[in-house]
Symmetry: C2
Subunit: 195 residues, 2 copies
DNA sequence: ACTAACCCGAACATCAGTGTTCAACAAGAG
DNA sequence: CTCTTGTTGAACACTGATGTTCGGGTTAGT
């Protein structure tokens, strides 16, 4: 999925590759700020003409899909590198830390994805990171450190809610980005603790 | 603010008043489902011509503002009726119950408001309900039943996050609307409990 | 240096939504 | 009953966005 299908066309020219990279980078940044940003602004931010952009991407939707795909695989990589062994509480804290960084970095990009991608694609995109949290929570319940009186699916959703809420709170200036991970961790772990 | 300025014009005709009511009702329902709904669809849902709608409301923005204003004052009324005395935990549970009902009922209307209203208007709209939660949390901290190691503003934001997350979870079918209040209450109270 | 690939701005077609005008028609208030 | 207010669909202008075409200019690769 993240591996590109082998193109049978001769390799692109150097400046074309550079422009494509610049467009993807600019699009990622722009969409993270404003999910409804126009193609025009993305092209301008990439230092490139709008026509050039359309030369490399079939449509706005295709560009957004490509950006989301890249961000997703990079995020997957980061999340896969998190150590989930040991005390589930510590593991969840580490997972939350990384999840927060990703969420904060890409801000409103998820909104752009929601507006562009199909529900099927969205479900697929959420599947792997969600499954990771779910596995960890289940282990914590088995080991008796997380409560068992709430549905697992709710607890997973709670992690997402609090992380997302923190992103908004930071954007609003209520708390700083530096203290956010601590607040999220403290809140979620208290909510999940077995009594 | 919620009181209409006394119009010096003669009272509207009966069918006009009825149509205005139908439009406001339809707009509330439509916007709660899709914040980007077109004026056309709102008019259709109200069983009225688009021109008629524009005869009663200067613009789409004016209509949205009116809808938000009405919803806000009704919500304010409901929230003001909540008994906030007694054990802060029980009081917060009651407040959460009502907050949940309102959030669930009006769904995506807040998104429509964000897209239409100014930041000033949004801040103003959030001020009163937020202040209510904040006062209650502060009292709970003074009385030693809520933790003091997290910023009050963060705790307020947490309530919002979890309620909003529950709305999404219900919409996604992960949990039912009936069990949502219980889950929210259980989660938030655990997160806020003094250790 | 030559050529194919690429860039770019301007102009165009298209589309969806907003907001307005008009003229015929319907209905409430007195 | 009648007159004023209100409703209506069709048609229009306008806006902002997407996506395309064209022609001339530029640049990377060999």
């Amino acid at each position: 999925m993240t591996t590109q299908p082998v193109t049978r066309t001769p390799p692109k020219r150097a400046d074309a590759r550079k422009n494509i990279a610049a467009i993807l980078e600019a699009a990622t940044e722009c969409l993270a700020r404003d999910p409804d940003v126009s193609v025009n602004e993305i092209a301008k931010a990439a230092g490139v003409g709008r026509v050039t952009l359309y030369g490399h991407f079939e449509s706005r939707a295709a560009l957004v899909a490509e950006v989301v795909d890249r961000v997703m695989s990079q995020s997957e990589e980061e999340l896969a590198a998190v150590d989930l062994s040991g005390d589930p509480r510590d593991a969840l804290a580490r997972l939350i830390e990384t999840t927060w960084e990703i969420t904060h970095r890409y801000g409103a990009l998820v909104v752009a994805a929601e507006e562009t991608l199909t529900h099927e694609q969205m479900r697929e995109a959420h599947q792997r990171p969600l499954a990771r949290v779910e596995r960890l929570i289940k282990r914590g319940r088995r080991e008796g450190v997380f409560r068992k009186d709430l549905p697992v699916v709710w607890m997973v959703s709670t992690v997402q809610s609090v992380v997302h809420g923190a992103s908004i709170a930071v954007h609003r200036g209520d708390v700083t980005a530096a203290q956010a991970p601590h607040l999220i961790r403290e809140t979620v772990l208290s909510a999940f603790a077995a009594q």
